[in-house]
């Protein structure tokens, strides 16, 4: 690997995003959607963030894109703090980080033709000449597998998968370094999902993109990402490389998550941990570990002291009192979380 690749392209430190919220009839309160989140991403690599709804994974992505205002922390993109960038200086940075959205039906402006949609970021950010932009659109259409004549079609004339191809073409039009993917395949049928995942992996390699990849689907993250961070109620509870995360999940939550993935047949379901209830609401976070209420292994310490994300052996990181420095936790007695799919 070259020196340049070693350097972190993106470095998020203590990111915090809070929203004022009027929950119910009560007084206004701040909801910490993202709470002291730190991670870094090297050039050409992909980091997956997984979690259930309300975990703050999408908010993290939007904060990195500067689409929501962070209330604390820093986002260093290629050494420049994006949280300090405003107006024009932020706009000048924009070509270098782009985004692919979740919903292929609402992420494309319905009144614009496909060609114009792909061209738009270049127009808005003033990239290239008129002719260059036109040529670039042609290239991109070919690259994502759309026909040339489809440039004149409107979004509603495309299928979901095709729309997501347009979204990808738009995101890479400015030759970005970083692409934030927010659940890019969750709205698609499985067959189409595979097409798009393959395309994403191909263009990543081809253009040496870094992905910040948000998903709730462990299978998808496993397929795309080199490293994975697991979020629970606004915090990262585990951050690991793909293999070790799937082989030996450190955090009981990760482990529960993995074991809940359907598809292991009746036998596979015998040894999984049943999590009680739903995640608590982010409006009233517990004092200690936010997972403590649902964790079968929680002890008093868990309920009273919030565990910090710390490194254990092998450079793996976890936020759990019950996991020791060797990376062994109480759940490891239950055996493997994930076995090979029988099919």
């Amino acid at each position: 690997m070259s020196k340049e690749a070693e350097k972190n392209l993106l470095e998020v430190k203590d990111l915090r995003v809070s929203f004022p919220s009027r929950h119910g009839a009560g007084a206004k309160r701040m909801v910490h959607a993202v709470n002291d989140v730190s991670f870094s991403l090297r050039r050409g690599r992909s980091l997956g963030i997984v979690g259930e709804s309300g975990s703050g994974k999408t908010t993290t992505a939007l904060a990195v894109m500067r689409l929501v205002e962070p209330s604390g922390g820093s986002i260093l993109f290629d050494g420049v703090d994006l949280t300090q960038a405003k107006g024009e200086s932020l706009r000048r940075m924009r070509p270098r980080f782009q985004m692919i959205f979740q919903d292929p039906f609402s992420s494309l402006e319905p009144r614009k033709r496909a060609g114009a949609i792909v061209r738009e970021p270049m127009d808005l950010l003033g990239i290239g000449t008129e002719a260059e932009r036109r040529q670039r659109v042609d290239e991109l259409f070919a690259r994502v597998g759309l026909r040339d004549d489809q440039k004149l079609n409107f979004p509603h004339q495309f299928s979901g998968g095709q729309r997501q191809r347009i979204g990808i073409a738009r995101a890479i039009a400015t030759r970005p370094d970083l692409v934030v993917c927010d659940e890019p395949v969750s709205a698609l049928d499985v067959a189409i999902q595979a097409q798009i995942l393959n395309l994403l992996v191909e263009v990543q390699e081809e253009f040496r993109l870094s992905y910040l990849f948000i998903s709730h689907d462990l299978g998808v993250v496993h397929y795309v990402c080199d490293e994975i961070a697991v979020m629970y109620l606004g915090k990262i509870v585990e951050h690991n490389d793909r293999q070790s995360l799937f082989r030996q999940p450190l955090h009981p939550y990760t482990w529960a998550l993995l074991s809940a993935v359907p598809g292991r047949g009746a036998a596979g379901r015998q040894n999984r941990i049943r999590l009680k209830g739903d995640p608590p609401s982010p409006f009233d976070l517990p004092k200690g570990c936010s997972f403590a209420q649902r964790c079968p292994f929680a002890q008093d310490e868990c309920r009273n002291v919030r565990p910090e994300l710390r490194a254990v052996s092998g450079g793996r990181r976890v936020a759990c009192h019950r996991v020791n420095d060797e990376g062994i936790g109480p759940h490891h007695e239950f055996g493997e979380a994930v076995s090979r799919v029988e099919a």
Binding site: R22, G24, A25, G26, A27
Partner: protein
């Protein structure tokens, strides 16, 4: 049912709004050319400059604007809306005297419109492509499009000459005084028919349209499908599950319209000589009776605010999703 804090917040905003309304109205009315004393002296049959000066002093009209405003706000806060230049009585008494007539008119028209309009809308929504549905739609658009005073005039012309069944003006037969509560009620009801019907025409149109579209929307909702899947008869599906949801926008609009009770009734009260607040408002505007004008404008604003709060409470009762319409 309603959380105290929400109510308190509502009240606080309301008070601020009321203060703003007072200041706004007062300023607006004082921008007018000519002062009430001129009108009063004219109404009295003329007078000399001395009398004008004396009256101006008496009513404090010679003071600086800011002082007048301050005095007015203070007295309003103590519940004193001032003294009518024209009617020579406390504005509050005057308003309270006229209020029942307007309430009677508007509330009967609204009830008539809500019940019939919603029923029509619901019927129309069940067979949205049927002839009946189209007919109801066209009739409600027509009702919406007809100037309300014109409907009244046509009724008066028609009923006065061709078919003198219902009285066309006033709220009571003046010779009926002392007829007792029962006789009076019958008399008032008899006089109420035409104005209430006229006013209801306009409202009706809105409710049937609203009920139709909201019913259409609700009927395609998942929970209506659930209700059907539960094996409930269509009657329960439509009138329990769907209607309860479809009626929410109707409540909102009813609240809004009730809030505009005074303004809404001006035209009909004028056409039918109905002795209500709307006509009082019109007369006081024409007579530059500024205490009365201010009083009615303020009173109307308070009615709107109260109506909003009540609507909000009703809404909360029908729709348990609190804060859903924040």
């Amino acid at each position: 049912m309603v959380p105290v804090s929400a109510l308190a917040r509502n009240l606080l905003t309301s008070i601020v709004t009321v203060l703003a309304v007072i200041v706004f109205n007062f300023t607006l009315i004082h921008l007018a050319p000519g002062d009430p004393v001129t009108v009063m002296v004219g109404e009295m049959g003329g007078g000399d400059p001395e009398l004008i000066t004396r009256l101006q002093q008496q009513y404090g009209l010679d003071r600086p604007f800011a002082e007048q405003l301050f005095t007015y706000v203070l007295s309003v806060l103590t519940g004193d809306l001032g003294f009518s230049f024209y009617y020579n009585m406390p504005v509050l008494d005057l308003i309270l005297q006229r209020l029942p007539a307007t309430l009677l008119l508007v509330v009967s028209a609204l009830c008539l419109a809500i019940v019939i309009g919603t029923a029509l809308g619901v019927v129309a929504a069940q067979r949205p492509r049927g002839i009946l549905s189209h007919l109801i739609t066209v009739i409600s658009i027509a009702g919406f499009s007809a100037p309300v005073f014109w409907v009244g005039i046509v009724l008066i012309i028609g009923l006065a000459s061709a078919l003198p069944i219902f009285p066309t003006s006033g709220m009571r037969d003046v010779t009926n005084i002392g007829a007792g509560i029962w006789g009076d009620t019958v008399d008032v009801a008899y006089h109420l028919v035409l104005p209430a019907f006229t006013l209801a025409t306009v409202y009706l149109a809105q409710y049937s349209r609203l009920a139709r579209s909201s019913m259409l929307e609700v009927l395609s909702a998942d929970y209506v499908r659930t209700a059907r899947a539960k094996g409930l008869p269509e009657r329960l599906v439509v009138y329990k599950h769907a209607l309860r949801n479809a009626v929410l926008p109707v409540v909102t609009i009813a609240g809004l319209q009730f809030g505009q009770v005074v303004a809404g009734a001006v035209l009909v009260e004028t056409v039918f000589a109905w002795p209500g607040l709307g006509r009082l408002a019109y007369e006081s505007i024409l007579r530059r009776d500024s205490p009365t004008m201010l009083g009615i404008l303020l009173f109307s604003a308070v009615i709107v605010i109260v109506a909003n709060i009540v609507t909000d409470m009703v809404y909360r009762m029908i729709d348990p999703r609190i804060g859903a319409r924040a």
